[in-house]
């Protein structure tokens, strides 16, 4: 079988790519996509650890299921916020939404 560290490495790379997207994309929708990638990286980690270390129980998969729930909720609310911002400011550029400052 493919060794555990290979999965971890891929997950780490996916996590960092997602984070790069979150930190650098200007479009708010793209930022949300970055967050989805990060969550997926976490899922890979959880499932991989479960498979290699804890395959007799189902705790790892249960965690992943909960992350699905959270991701779905996050996507719904996040996009609602983006749409609301777009309606008010005619823009989805995150840098434009910067009134919360000095």
């Amino acid at each position: 079988m493919v060794p555990l560290w290979a999965y971890l490495l891929v997950a780490a790379a996916l996590f960092c790519l997602g984070m790069y997207g979150v930190l650098s994309r200007r479009n708010a929708v793209a930022v949300l996509m970055g967050i989805e990638l990060m969550l997926n990286a976490v899922n890979i980690n959880l499932v991989a650890f479960w498979r290699y270390l804890e395959a007799q129980t189902m705790n790892g998969q249960a965690f992943v299921a909960f992350i699905f729930v959270v991701a779905a909720a996050e996507a719904a609310v996040g996009l609602a916020i983006v749409i609301s911002i777009y309606r008010n400011r005619r823009s989805v550029v995150i840098e434009d939404v910067d009134i919360m400052k000095w």
Binding site: Y7, L9, L17, M33, R51, T57, A62, V64, F68, A73
Partner: protein, 174 residues
């Protein structure tokens, strides 16, 4: 380290999907294309789940992520007319972001590789269980009082709250 069997090959291909898709997501200018890249990446993750003997999660991944969340994001893209191209895809701190994420990746890599190839290396189990618990066990676990029934209920509540919240936030007040 790697036996070049079908599984390994599948793994490499899926890695290509996952990371290539992710790269596409963070770099592509056209957001519809970016979303499609994301779908590719998420498919790759679903493939990983299959490789890791978690077919149920793979199915859920396809249903929830690709079937629902991606579609939701595409709607978001269209409703906000985000596909009209911005002049700059990335913000002013993209170089700094790149440096920080690279740094993080290097650190994670060190953290993953060292235990395997370090002095006390090969800490990962050499023997991997052949038999894994099946989905029925997870079903029982989720609703058993000794398992996750409380988080399960809270999750349902969270979904309801998110649904209501999304409607309230996105509703046109006029």
């Amino acid at each position: 380290m790697f036996e070049f069997n079908a599984q390994t090959i599948a793994f490499l291909v899926l890695t290509l999907f996952v990371l290539g898709g992710a790269l596409g997501v963070v770099t592509t200018r056209n957001l519809v294309h970016a979303t499609l890249y994301m779908v590719l990446s998420l498919f790759g993750v679903a493939g990983f789940f299959v490789l890791l003997s978690a077919p149920f999660l793979a199915a859920v991944q396809v249903l929830v992520y690709i079937g629902a969340i991606s579609i939701l994001i595409i709607f978001g893209v269209m409703l906000t007319r985000s596909m009209t191209h911005l002049r700059h895809v990335h913000n002013a701190q993209w170089v700094a972001s790149g440096v920080v994420t690279s740094l993080l990746f290097v650190l994670l890599m060190v953290g993953i590789i060292l235990p395997v190839w370090g002095v006390n290396g090969a800490q990962t189990p050499t023997e991997v269980a052949d038999v894994v618990a099946d989905t029925a066990v997870m079903g029982q676990l989720l609703v058993s009082p000794n398992g996750y029934v409380l988080p399960f209920e809270v999750a349902s509540l969270l979904l309801t709250a998110a649904m209501i919240g999304a409607i309230v936030i996105a509703r046109d007040d006029e």
